[in-house]
């Protein structure tokens, strides 16, 4: 049934009880999760912000602290969707057989994959909001435009949820995810301008950077935090949406191939 696995995603509201299930699990460990969402960016902001910030008074036209804040919103958001889609998603699909239980009900694999994407993006939304809270708490950003970082976190979450689920659909075990983190996530952190401007990189790497979704997320987040409307916002949004849709569809095809035969 090759044509079947490539079918257009069958969207329905039946994804919602699965999202609710994941939310109920999250609520039981909410305290630890929120502390993680807040502590992780604070460690970067305090450590690198004060440590490097005193040596580098200004970067990209703002304080180094604020420069770093823009990178950290996106990086944190990327990480939470990725961890959720990879490790927690794999646990639900494979280890705990949660999907198997759900598939015996009138819910389909398409509903499950949609719920996974949306749930991982929800985790990004939480992480992004937490970082934004820290940024406000530190008094780094004073503009209403910074509120746009919240929907941006959701979009970045959708983008990395889709990409992460592709890995989950292919993974034989948890060990497989190390490749993704070592070869995709960590390089992106270095190539996409989290800690320093992409312009510092040699031209070939700059070209590579322009193809990566995290660069586009940061190009949107950084101006928003310092109170300017991002240049080429349409292009950046389009890249993120394209990654999100492609990742979602590809993961759905791979999950259908893995589980539906």
């Amino acid at each position: 049934m090759r044509s079947d696995i490539f079918a257009f995603p069958r969207l329905s509201r039946r994804f919602f009880p699965i999202w609710q299930r994941n939310f109920l699990v999250w609520r039981k460990i909410a305290a630890a999760s929120v502390i993680g969402h807040i502590a992780d960016p604070m460690i970067y902001l305090i450590g690198l912000g004060y440590g490097l910030g005193s040596l580098v008074p200004e970067m990209g036209g703002t304080s180094y602290m604020l420069f770093l804040a823009g990178g950290t919103v996106c990086y944190s958001t990327m990480n939470s969707a990725s961890f959720e889609a990879l490790y927690s998603g794999f646990a639900r699909m494979h280890e705990q057989r949660t999907w198997e239980a759900i598939l015996n009900t009138p819910v389909t694999l398409d509903d499950i994959v949609l719920s996974e994407v949306l749930w991982a993006a929800t985790k990004s939304l939480m992480a992004g909001s937490a970082v934004l809270g820290v940024i406000w708490l530190f008094g780094l950003s004073h503009t209403w435009l910074s509120l746009w970082a919240i929907p941006l976190a959701l979009l970045v979450g959708l983008c990395f949820a889709g990409m992460g689920l592709v890995m989950t659909a292919l993974a034989p075990s948890y060990d497989f995810f190390l490749y993704y983190f070592t070869l995709v996530i960590t390089p992106m952190m270095m190539l996409c301008g989290v800690f320093f401007p992409v312009a510092q990189l040699p031209p070939a790497l700059q070209t590579l950077s322009a193809l990566l979704p995290l660069s586009h997320a940061i190009d949107l987040a950084r101006p928003l935090l310092s109170g300017t409307v991002p240049a080429q916002a349409g292009l950046h949004l389009a890249v993120l949406i394209a990654y999100a849709l492609a990742g979602y569809y590809l993961s759905l095809v791979l999950f259908r191939r893995r589980l539906g035969r």
Partner: protein, 316 residues
């Protein structure tokens, strides 16, 4: 309509699971090979077979979770897999491996599962006390799943399969890994479900389970039904009514010389010779003359049928 037509019409309506020349292959291996099934409303139907016979794949095909390579399927009158989702609204499943939500309590497991059927929270919560009572878990309502024993987890899985008040319940090896006490409790509950008019389709490789619970059963091997009928019919049709198991020192020599003469059919498995006969009296009298041999005389059972039909060699 004439009487015969009415009978035929009633039979057609009352068939709730039907498979017609069902086929499923993985790579070069045919797992389900031209299977025909017809299961009636209110029946407890057992699928027996050694490991790898195709039982679980058959259940997954019937539920519409995988697509057959050939054949026709219907579940509660809905064509499968096309409208399997709609059919599953009225189906409950007890899977082979526990897949309860370990992060949740007993009651939360039922609530969360009921939502997948589109049920409202109030509707599910109203059903929970009765489900817990049925599963003997009322006192464990707020216990987390990892603290439950194996038997309790199985009972919770059964309760979860009933949350939507299904017409049909699929049970894939429902008592594997349970101790005898836990197993008897599950059997009692399954009989209650049958008494309520539910249709049960269960796979097992416990012959006593099949013999006790099933109205009809089928022995399956290599993806095909080898035989089908009530437990008594299967025994009557396939095997001599009496069995004498002979074992002890010198059984091999004895078997080579005498077994064929005193039984209609005999089989050697390990250190035991199984002698099947309609009248075992001559054999028993003969065995009195061999004091080193020990024996066990019993009526033939489903296990004898199963081993005759599927062979005694290990399946791995």
């Amino acid at each position: 309509m004439r009487g015969n037509d009415i009978l035929r019409w009633v039979a057609a309506v009352s068939v709730v699971i039907r498979a017609d020349k069902l086929r499923k292959a993985y790579a070069s291996q045919t797992v389900v090979d031209g299977l025909d099934l017809s299961i009636r409303r209110g029946e407890c139907y057992g699928l027996l077979g050694p490991n790898g016979a195709g039982k679980t794949t058959t259940l997954r095909l019937l539920l519409g979770l995988i697509t057959p390579d050939a054949g026709e399927l219907s579940l509660l009158g809905e064509p499968v897999p096309e409208r399997a989702r709609e059919a599953r609204v009225k189906v409950g499943v007890v899977p082979q491996m526990d897949n309860l939500d370990p992060d949740f309590t007993v009651a939360e497991n039922l609530l969360v599962y009921g939502r997948y059927f589109g049920m409202k929270d109030t509707e599910i919560e109203a059903r929970i006390p009765a489900l817990l009572e049925f599963a003997n878990l009322s006192h464990k309502r707020d216990a987390k799943v990892p603290t439950l024993s194996g038997g309790m987890k199985r009972r919770l899985t059964l309760a979860r399969a009933l949350v939507n008040d299904p017409d049909i319940i699929f049970l894939d090896e429902p008592t594997t890994g349970l101790d005898p006490q836990a197993r008897h409790l599950i059997w009692q509950r399954l009989r209650e479900l049958t008494a309520q008019g539910k249709t049960l389709l269960l796979t097992t490789h416990f012959m006593d389970e099949a013999e006790r619970l099933c109205h009809r059963l089928a022995v399956m091997d290599h993806g095909r039904l080898i035989t089908e009928g009530s437990p008594r019919e299967l025994i009557a049709q396939n095997i001599e009514p009496q069995v004498v198991e002979v074992f002890g020192e010198g059984v091999e020599a004895w078997s080579a010389q005498h077994a064929a003469g005193y039984s209609a059919r005999f089989e050697q498995s390990g250190e035991t010779v199984f002698c099947y006969a309609a009248d075992p009296a001559p054999l028993l009298a003969h065995l009195h003359g061999h004091p080193t041999l020990r024996y066990l005389h019993r009526p033939a059972n489903l296990e004898d049928v199963f081993l005759k039909l599927t062979g005694r060699e290990m399946r791995e």
